[in-house]
């Protein structure tokens, strides 16, 4: 289990190779990467604020929860903070398990958590100003799937 909260860029492929090498004896590995997306050509940067201290604790505790709930063999969570530009990876999760369903569900579960339970806030910077990204009610509702 590895959790990394970082301002530095990362390459999801390189991380996937390291994760695969570290978790032996599994049958299935799922990865998800989220990338800064410039939907209309006006996004200059995505700023990510977080709650130092709480963030690390929340990521660790949810990684552990995912391991227990789905019987995962390994979990990787990387989440960046600070100022990111379009095209850069924001975060990634990877899960490994004996079988496919656990790996898929574990990754999906971690994503639902990261979207609405980990203390991160996104702000979009454009030429004409900056706006905080609104939380989606669908993200909040998605969490109900796991209870």
């Amino acid at each position: 289990m590895r959790v990394s909260l970082q301002s530095e860029p990362f390459d999801p492929g390189t991380e996937l190779t390291a994760f695969s090498t570290a978790t032996q004896g599994v049958g299935a590995i799922v990865s998800f990467s989220g990338i800064v997306r410039d939907t209309d050509g006006t996004l200059e940067a995505m700023e990510i604020e977080h709650y130092p201290g709480m963030t690390e604790r929340a990521l660790q505790s949810h990684a552990q929860k995912a391991v227990q709930k789905f019987g995962l063999s390994g979990v990787l969570i990387i989440h960046r903070y600070g100022r990111l530009t379009p095209g850069e990876p924001i975060m990634m999760v990877a899960t490994s398990a004996p079988h496919r369903q656990a790996a898929f569900e574990g990754a999906d579960f971690l994503m639902d958590f990261l979207k609405s339970r980990a203390p991160f806030w996104k702000k979009e910077h454009r030429a004409d100003g900056a706006d905080w990204v609104d939380a989606k009610t669908t993200d909040e509702a998605a969490l109900d799937r796991w209870t």
Binding site: I48, Y51, M54, M111, S116, P119, F120, W121, W132, E140
Partner: protein, 82 residues
Amino acid sequence: MIEILYFAWLRERIGIPRETWTTEAKTVNDLVDELRAREERYVMAFEDTTSLRVALDQELAEFDAPLEGVREVAFFPPMTGG
């Protein structure tokens, strides 16, 4: 004495990221009432607490949660990670 933290637009609206506050509040709601009584910017920031979240000592909590023993209270908008 508790440490109060603000994040995202709440931090911007209040104008500071954190402050130390001496409180008599029994619950988070009581604390919000104390803050609102201080200055207009707190009234604005805490206008609608249903659109806010709170963490007590770095764990998510409800607004009716007791403050006894709590050292750090954080207020913030719904999270948008991932």
